[in-house]
């Protein structure tokens, strides 16, 4: 702790009326849940298939407001076909060849996207660092990859049905730019990753052993209403977002 910081905390303790000679007490942070609240929230997410399909219906309804497009697929391979179809019918925004960048995620590998996109000549790149190479050089390569892609494909850790938000944890093989820099973002998740609302989603976060340094909630394409409150999709992030729910 440097001097300025010490002074800051001394003044802070003075402002709070604490005795400035005692150091800040290291006690566990307050618990802001009622006893049993977290368990109850976690228990709520044990749903039957029927209940999950109801959540899906809620999600579809709300997604329309967000301009978030929901697709369902009965298998992972079927989801791959759906994405290939979206890729085929979507034009690039900034010119250049059609390239897709994709998270390194077991569920996504099951899409067989490369196979489904081959006939259209669309390349699929994985956004993961090669551990045998220099990290910063690899980072630069992947950055160019993200900038060159017109479509980015990610998984989603959870999705809150009532507000259409997916939670995407960042990490090795799960770059942040994939859901941000390409013009179209496609996220893939399975039916059991649907939760009802934000409180349930936060409960899942809280229940994880640890959280990554960066994660995002994303609900739909980027948008702005800064010019005369006129809603326009595609401000700085993707102008289009698709969510593929695998129901198998």
């Amino acid at each position: 702790m440097n001097n300025a910081e010490q002074t800051f905390f001394t003044r802070l303790r003075d402002a709070l009326g604490r005795n400035s000679s005692t150091r800040a007490v290291r006690e566990p942070l307050f618990d802001s849940r009622e006893p049993g609240e977290l368990d109850a929230l976690l228990a709520r997410t044990n749903r039957t298939r029927k209940e999950r399909l109801d959540l899906l219906a809620t999600l579809k309804e709300f997604a329309a407001i967000l301009n978030l497009r929901i697709h369902t697929a009965s298998s992972t391979d079927g989801a791959g076909k759906t994405i290939a179809e979206i890729a085929r019918t979507t034009d690039t925004e900034w010119g250049g060849e059609k390239r897709i960048t994709m998270h390194d995620n077991p569920l996504l590998h099951g899409l067989n996207l490369e196979g489904h996109c081959k006939q259209d000549g669309i390349a699929v790149d994985i956004s993961a660092i090669d551990p045998d190479k220099d990290e910063l050089t690899e980072k630069l390569r992947l950055r160019h990859q993200a900038e060159a892609a017109y479509m980015g494909i990610t998984g989603a850790d959870w999705c809150a049905a009532d507000c259409g938000a997916i939670a995407v944890m960042a990490g090795p093989g799960r770059g942040r730019a994939t859901s941000l820099v390409p013009s179209v973002h496609v996220a893939v998740l399975t039916l059991d990753q649907l939760v009802a609302d934000l409180p349930e989603l936060y409960a899942q976060l809280e229940n994880r052993a640890s959280l990554p340094v960066s994660f995002n909630f994303i609900s739909g394409p980027s948008k702005t209403a800064d010019i005369e409150a006129h809603m326009v999709h595609g401000a700085h992030g993707p102008r289009e977002m698709h969510l593929i729910v695998i129901t198998e």
């Binding site: 709070l16 802001s32 551990p131 992947l142 993200a146 936060y202 800064d226 010019i227």
Partner: protein, 483 residues
């Protein structure tokens, strides 16, 4: 940018009062968002939740030392830097130091009121660093060398024709007044900046101490871009913008997005707790969190004003305020406009200096009703007015008008004596005669002149109720009882 005006509150407010276009723009926001938020408070968010949120905010403030210590330790454990700035100058110098150390040439900014508060842009620009606002509204404001007028809709005072002409001139595109076309032009121009900047500066909506993250909400994605693509990310945070736990984050985020835009959630909510970790394909190599006092410590120490630090800067008090609705954001002439600005600006920069702000609001209470954390702004405005009337040592406030205080003392004396009151009414009636026209006092003299400059004043009646009672009603009643 964020040019402040030399004009007085009165002049600016007067200009705005005649600006029809401004009124209809604000009306649109107040009707859509302000009323939308109020509706959500009645339907899906209970008062109980808002009370709980306020309690959580106050508990955090009461334990701010511990909460900030935890946040700092977590961020440092992840390789992030945390700097504590006592003043605005400390904060902006730190930003400059980080920029210079990293040989930064271009800075992209996500909308942050704290950055306007500390005035970081001018300093960076003075050192030949290009500063680009990336929020569409802020970008338009920057191009126009104007000042933002609303917390979440900075260019609400401009219409699409003005923006079209601005883009034609500054971005070299053919004139258009079509919002999607204009947005697309800005998207292209800003994408180049966002992808080539070396440093991103953001604010912080709510930091979560328990997990060691700051969090940022945005709809456009510019904040995610600014904090992901450049090699350095500096986040500016007022020292009060922290909450203790994830559970509290859940609650306050839901209130924030509903308060700000009547939205269930914003398109993006980013949690950031340090630089890129080993193996990650992207993210900044350096992460700096600047925790800023700049006068907040004093608000924290004063039980009258600690509450104002529970503000989550949602802006909904602007979306409901009748005064803001008429005079717009520019009249406040400060980084924080509206009812919240009227309370914090005097506390930041001097109560006497911002006396007009303290007195301009109507104390109608709408801001308190809509505030997601029940901030009692009217109470705090009254406290400020009390300081202005009687002076306050702690805040170094000089009484504004000793004559006025004296006049009210005299008024008090007159009002508490029947004889003095009657005498006052009689002399007043005679004295006012030359100034009354069409049954109204239109041109008062002395202090009354200030009132009648903007409004008419009802003259003292030819007969007061008391007098009428004696001559008209009392005899009639007597007559009734005689029957």
């Amino acid at each position: 940018m964020h040019e402040q005006s030399d004009k007085s509150y009165r002049e600016l407010a007067n200009e705005a009062l005649g600006d029809e276009r401004l009124h209809s723009a604000i009306r649109m926001i107040q009707d859509r968002i302000g009323k939308g938020t109020r509706h959500l408070w009645k339907t899906e968010i209970s008062q109980e939740l808002r009370d709980k949120a306020k309690k959580a905010r106050m508990r955090t403030l009461d334990n701010l030392d511990k909460v900030l210590t935890t946040l700092t330790e977590k961020i440092r454990a992840n390789g992030g830097h945390v700097y504590f700035a006592k003043t605005a100058e400390d904060a902006r110098n730190y930003c400059l130091k980080v920029a210079q150390k990293n040989e930064v040439k271009r800075v992209v900014k996500g909308k942050s009121m704290t950055s306007a508060e500390i005035g970081v842009d001018h300093l960076l620009e003075a050192h030949d660093i290009e500063v680009v606002e990336t929020d569409l509204g802020e970008f338009i404001i920057q191009l126009a060398h104007d000042a933002p007028s609303h917390i979440i809709a900075p260019c609400i005072h401009m219409d699409k024709q003005q923006i079209g002409r601005l883009f034609e001139k500054e971005l070299g595109i053919p004139y258009s007044e079509d919002p999607p076309t204009l947005t697309k032009a800005a998207r292209k121009a800003l994408r180049e900046k966002l992808l080539s900047a070396d440093m991103g500066i953001s604010g912080c909506n709510l930091a979560c101490a328990e997990t060691g993250h700051i969090s940022l909400v945005s709809n456009e994605g510019n904040i995610r871009m600014s904090t992901t693509m450049p090699k350095v990310h500096v986040a500016l945070m007022g020292m009060e913008r922290v909450i203790a736990t994830l559970a509290e984050h859940d609650m306050l985020l839901r209130l924030l997005t509903r308060g700000a835009a009547a939205q269930k959630i914003s398109t993006y909510v980013s949690f950031l707790g340090g630089p890129r970790q080993p193996g990650e394909p992207d993210g900044p190599e350096e992460f700096h969190l600047v925790i800023i006092d700049n006068g907040r410590m004093k608000m924290l120490a004063d039980p009258r004003f600690r509450e104002v630090l529970s503000c989550i800067r949602c802006g909904s008090c602007l979306n409901i305020c009748p005064v803001y609705g008429r005079i717009g954001g520019h009249a406040y002439n400060a980084p924080y406009p509206g009812p919240i600005g009227a309370v914090v600006m005097p506390l930041f920069n001097g109560v006497n200096k911002h006396a007009d702000l303290c007195r301009g609001e109507s104390l109608c209470g709408a801001c308190k009703d809509i505030c997601p954390v029940n901030n009692d702004l009217p109470r705090m405005l009254s406290e400020l007015r009390h300081m202005l009337a009687y002076g306050d040592e702690q805040w170094d406030v000089a009484p504004v008008d000793k004559g006025e205080a004296l006049a009210f003392k005299g008024w008090y004396a007159a009002m508490s004596s029947r004889t003095a009151y009657n005498l006052l009414v009689k002399t007043g009636r005679l004295a006012q005669a030359p100034f009354v026209s069409d049954g109204m006092l239109k041109k008062g003299i002395g202090p009354l002149g200030k009132w009648t400059a903007d409004r008419d004043f009802p003259p003292i009646a030819r007969q007061t109720f008391g007098e009428r009672w004696k001559t008209v009603h009392a005899p009639r009643l007597k007559g009734d009882s005689n029957e």
